[in-house]
């Protein structure tokens, strides 16, 4: 049985992905900031199952407590195969440009604190002889564009870190998977203009689960975004300056 420690299952992509994991029989320990919310999500995931989904409190804005939280999860699960992190903050470029406080929060949470958590996760996984670290980055990190200047920068930095982690520790047994969702219709993206190839969370989660089970290094979801971004990455600057996306 796959034993997974999951940070971010209460909302959006994390909710859809954790449901599909539980449905096929994976054991989950949830970490989250708002313990009441996490408890409700755990109840939902285990509603029709005998085995309980366990949970404990952890706030990504207190990265110094990462190690402790991961240890507790490992104890509850009685082992560990995989750590999944979907948590993060999104802000529209407009809101980030007008609020330095919000910009600081997004930069801090998505980049600094996420990496500090991953460092802690790396240490625990390697100490156990290996395992998989699955982290949600974004297609926004593949190429800087008008609507995602600051958010995209946090994700670009995160993707670069994860790539480095793979280079450095793959041989010691750390499987790093970077997940790059395209546009998925969740609470995070509500109100944004929908681009082509927008997907529902269930559809995206199914593709992601296939990818991480394969231990792919990079998973685009839905998969078509790999090709979309391959084109976007090659667009000349002059085009990006004029383009609306």
């Amino acid at each position: 049985m796959m034993k997974t420690l999951f940070l971010g299952a209460t909302r959006g992509m994390g909710r859809a992905l954790s449901r599909q994991m539980v449905e096929r029989g994976d054991a989950l320990h949830l970490l989250g900031r708002d313990i009441e919310e996490v408890a409700k999500t755990a109840a939902d995931l285990s509603a029709t199952r005998d085995r309980l989904v366990t949970f404990s409190r952890f706030d990504l804005d207190e990265p110094q407590k990462s190690g402790e939280a991961i240890e507790e999860g490992i104890n509850k699960l009685g082992g560990l195969h995989r750590i999944v992190l979907t948590a993060g903050i999104f802000g529209t470029q407009e809101s980030l440009e007008t609020s330095p406080e919000l910009a600081a929060r997004v930069l801090q949470t998505n980049f600094v604190n996420t990496i500090l958590f991953c460092e802690s996760a790396r240490v625990r996984i390697l100490a156990r002889g290996g395992g998989q670290l699955v982290v949600f980055s974004s297609v926004a990190g593949d190429r800087a564009r008008k609507p995602v200047v600051i958010y995209g920068a946090t994700k670009a930095g995160l993707s670069a870190y994860l790539e480095g982690l793979d280079a450095r520790f793959k041989r010691e047994g750390l499987d790093v998977t970077i997940v790059k969702p395209g546009f998925v219709r969740t609470g995070m993206t509500r109100g944004l203009k929908e681009p082509p190839f927008a997907a529902d969370p269930e559809e995206a989660a199914a593709a992601i689960l296939r990818g991480i089970d394969r231990r792919a290094t990079v998973v685009y979801a839905p998969p078509i975004w790999r090709w979309v971004m391959a084109v976007v990455k090659r667009l000349p600057r002059a085009v990006l300056r004029r383009a609306a996306f």
Binding site: R11, R15, K40, A43, A47, T48, T186, G187, R190, G191
Partner: protein
């Protein structure tokens, strides 16, 4: 194109408005005067009233909060879809207590429209199986309502179209089932008199009954169609089938179809073919629950087949006291007035439920899909005129074109509803495009 501006119900007649969505639906409801689920009501029930910009959707708040595998009692957030309910609880030996025609509806929507299904004559409406709800009412408070706490508010909320407050979560009872598969019998029926007799007969021994009728047939064929009846199958009948039915593949309609696709002529051809594809004898078999209960769900966005102009569904119930004559008169009017409906649905309803404005009453329900054009409003008005004479009523979850004065004439319960609404929502905060059109909020 599929992306017209504004907001629409399932019938794709667009109006002003924008949807707010969040996993924290309870928080969202502080800020809006109306909520919606998956947008499957056909008309303007889930569209904001003129002057209101936003409507909150519960669709992302879809968690099951508790489930008792002994009693089948579930507590869940308002956005839990019937689709997810089926997938979660079929393997546990339970099903929704009522069987509506689509599974892409939410718990909150099922309560607000007090939905019924093929099993209405046995199970009543969904509201009968609801034990309690947590609601955000006009004062901004969250209150628990049930048959013993705020019982007037509870009854008005069943079928109250969201006009008493926002349902945040609800506790309801599932029904235990022998298996999710359905043992069915289908039969060709040659006219409306035979159809009504057969429906009545089938209701005695089957929990699921309904029929598809041809409303364009010449006199002697009027109301001919296919009768369906069924019950949950016993595991011994399943043969090599899997205990839990696999999810069926769904097809997509890529864009709005040209408007000639659904015309009186194509409808007439389709209805005739559909009638004759069924052999004269009774057919029996085990059906996949998704294809039996939700035949149209297999085509995602089937509403696009009606093209850019959209369509409306006219659903009414004609009291049993008016007998087959009343139903025949109504079908004649539909045919002569030029209402070309593809696959109209007929169903006998059981007793009226507790909901103050719930739709079903003992009699015959008829549902017609009508493409929208310049004449739709007058067509609906002519149907309503006869319906008032017959003592029947319309289903608010489908309506887009009824006039306030006609609604008042067919709805003697309106006063009681408005009185409860005014006591909980004296300033008329909760409103929709439909409630403003029909005078559901008082003045």
């Amino acid at each position: 194109m599929a992306t017209q501006k504004g907001l629409a119900g399932w019938g794709r007649v667009f109006g002003e408005g924008e949807e707010l969505a969040s996993e924290d639906f309870e928080e969202l409801t502080r800020h809006v005067n109306l909520s919606r689920g998956l947008g499957r009501s056909y008309g303007d029930s889930s569209l904001p009233a003129p002057g209101d910009e936003f409507v909150a959707t519960s669709r992302l708040a879809d968690r099951v909060l508790s489930f008792d595998s002994q009693t089948g009692v579930v507590r869940a957030e308002a956005g839990l879809s019937l689709h997810r309910m089926n997938r979660l609880f079929w393997p546990a030996g339970f099903a929704s207590p009522v069987a509506p025609g689509t599974q892409f509806i939410t718990l909150g929507g099922m309560i607000s429209a007090d939905v019924h299904g093929k099993d209405h004559h046995v199970m009543g409406t969904f509201g009968r199986h609801v034990e309690s709800m947590r609601m955000r009412i006009a004062s901004g408070d969250i209150v628990t309502v049930s048959r013993t706490e705020h019982s007037d508010l509870f009854r008005a909320t069943l079928g109250g179209m969201g006009l008493l407050g926002h349902i945040v979560d609800a506790t309801f009872r599932l029904q235990p089932i022998p298996s999710p598969w359905v043992s069915i019998e289908t039969q060709r029926v040659s006219d409306i008199d035979a159809f009504m007799a057969q429906l009545k007969d089938a209701a005695r021994s089957f929990p699921f009954t309904m029929g598809w009728i041809d409303t364009l047939g010449k006199s002697r064929h009027l109301g001919r169609g296919i009768l369906m009846r069924g019950r949950f199958a016993d595991p011994s009948e399943l043969g090599s089938r899997r205990a839990v039915p696999p999810t069926l593949k769904r097809f997509r309609v890529p864009f709005a179809a040209p408007s000639w696709l659904v015309s009186r002529w194509t409808t007439s051809v389709f209805n005739t073919l559909y009638y004759h594809q069924h052999i004269p004898a009774i057919r029996r078999g085990i059906a996949h629950p998704e294809s039996f209960f939700y035949p149209l769900d297999s085509v995602r966005d089937w509403n696009l087949l009606y093209g850019r102009r959209g369509f409306t569904q006219y659903q009414c119930v004609i009291p049993e006291a008016r007998g087959a004559d009343g139903v025949r008169d109504f079908l004649r009017l539909v045919r002569d007035a030029g209402g070309s409906s593809m696959l109209s649905v007929i169903k006998d309803c059981g007793d009226e439920g507790e909901g103050v404005l719930s739709f079903p009453l003992r009699g015959t329900s008829i549902a017609l899909d009508l493409p929208v054009d310049a004449n739709t409003a007058s067509l609906v008005a002519s149907f309503n005129a006869l319906l008032i004479e017959l003592g029947g009523r319309i289903y608010l979850a489908k309506d887009r074109f009824t006039h306030a004065r006609d609604f008042e004439r067919m709805e003697p319960r309106l006063g009681a509803f408005v009185a409860i609404k005014e006591s909980y929502d004296p300033k008329g905060r909760f409103r929709s495009a439909q409630s403003e059109r029909l005078g559901l909020g008082g003045d």
